[in-house]
Symmetry: C2
Subunit: 297 residues, 2 copies
């Protein structure tokens, strides 16, 4: 077995290689002056069982094309089996056509990944679980909420409450999972997103948070508005420190700034996205999953 680190997840691939004591395949990647991606295996991979690690955070299209090209090359050159670890699975918004005529992006990604030869897919906290049903190959949706909770357990939390920033089933299960690790209570806020304007409205719900430390557990920080709203609501209700942990911090524009300005103590993400907020690694989650310990929520 060998590990292939795609351009978006080189450090993560190194960590996984080290944890599993499985070598990284020597590869060469570059972008031509016109922007086209080039990939080359620097060693023979025919007959090998490969783990390809490539996250699809922004720029999603570039990272997806890199994944497609690496996968296609691996299969073409005779890899025996190919497992993908795509911590951030982009284009996972829609599980059905809410409006007639809409694209089902997740289904396209699934079809391409399968056509190009993937045998299994591992991902972290997918935004919508139903998109996993679009795959025929085995798909493992792992959660980083436990690892995020472990990070916050070092913050000397006082009488903590874990909060899901919205009331969707998946968000609540992630919060519950983190709360279990922290041996804490958990609760959730109510959120509505207008399907046409995209506008988010978070409802204030009376919570017993006065004087307590809060850990918000979210899947994706995109514009940061949802998390910022949640922080503000909790601070308004008298919460003490409010930490924000998210599986995927996409780092758009001033997303972190608005969360901090709304009163958050710290914003923490994972290395599903390569940036300075990636203080928690998803490597151990994947390593355990390979050994059959699937960490779900």
């Amino acid at each position: 077995m060998k590990i292939v680190g795609g351009p978006s997840s080189i450090d993560l691939a190194r960590k996984i290689s080290s944890a599993l004591n499985i070598p990284l395949v020597n590869v060469r990647t570059k972008r031509f002056p016109d922007g086209e991606f080039y990939f080359k295996f620097e060693e023979d991979i025919s007959g090998e069982d490969l783990l390809i690690i490539q996250s699809l955070y922004p720029p999603q299209d570039a990272h997806a094309m890199e994944l497609f090209l690496i996968l296609h090359t691996a299969r073409d050159l005779g890899a025996n089996t190919i497992k993908l670890f795509v911590p951030y699975l982009a284009y996972s918004r829609q599980d059905e056509r809410y409006l007639e005529g809409e694209c089902l992006s997740a289904a396209m990604i699934a079809e391409v990944i399968e056509t190009l030869g993937a045998d299994a897919l591992y991902t972290i906290d997918v935004h919508n679980e139903n998109v996993l049903k679009m795959y025929k190959i085995p798909v493992y949706n792992l959660t980083a909420s436990g690892e995020l909770a472990k990070y916050f357990s070092n913050k000397n939390l006082r009488d903590p409450v874990v909060i899901a920033p919205d009331d969707e089933d998946l968000a609540r299960r992630r919060a519950k999972h983190a709360a279990k690790v922290l041996n804490a209570e958990w609760n959730y806020l109510e959120k509505r997103r207008d399907r046409y304007t995209g506008e988010i409205v978070t409802f204030s719900k009376a919570l017993e948070v006065r004087g307590r430390d809060i850990v918000i557990i979210d899947d994706i920080i995109s514009t940061g508005k949802t998390a910022a709203n949640a922080v503000k609501i909790l601070k308004d209700q008298g919460a003490d420190r409010v930490f924000v942990g998210a599986s995927h911090i996409l780092l758009l524009k001033d997303s972190i700034k608005i969360i901090i300005e709304s009163g958050a103590e710290e914003v923490v993400g994972t290395d599903s996205v390569t940036n300075e907020y990636a203080k928690v690694s998803v490597a151990p989650i994947f390593v355990r999953a390979l050994k059959g310990e699937i960490e779900k929520c």
Copy 2:
């Protein structure tokens, strides 16, 4: 029959719609704040014969993903047949693995396009004809060199010579094709590209160009170095005005600037790429092709 204009080729799609007197399908496209593409057919396309127009100029990966998503949606919603017009077919550099372990990007693109349901592909002046062999569906490689030649025929050319900027068969055929339209002589320069450094070396070849007007016909202007070298060599040999016509002007950095500074009179491209140099349209070439008049070189 209906026409779908992808985000990279909206104006071109309009021209084709107008020339064929076939309606454009109402579509909605956008990018979400995080960068993901969204597409929606605003009318029923089930049972329709569709022409999807989407060029893959830079950013190639974004334009390719848009094409994949539109194609996937069209097939999913029951289009009867789907013909693609992809004037600039990105990732067409390699027709084989020159070095062991290399990706065959063109083969990946071909496989995805076919899997997602395209029935035929039309393109303009592909960089390497052999990549077309990777398709099982019918592929038509049309040339814009005739239309480019027509543009230059209005320049009162004096005793013109059409020049191919390198000695590859395809480049020479394009020059010959343009020369026929202009009723002019044609010739070529010799070029070598170091496979490792990517460096281009154009050899000066003694040509009878003194006092004559020159039309350089190229397929792609990428960094602009090849065309700039060619212009310089021809000016050094005493050519009068040197015009540069290219099927695809990718408009990287200062590519046009270096060509003009090397002495070119004018640089002209086609609307295979949406930019200010697109003074020649590929619409009539595609329209004729649909009617069975395949303009090859």
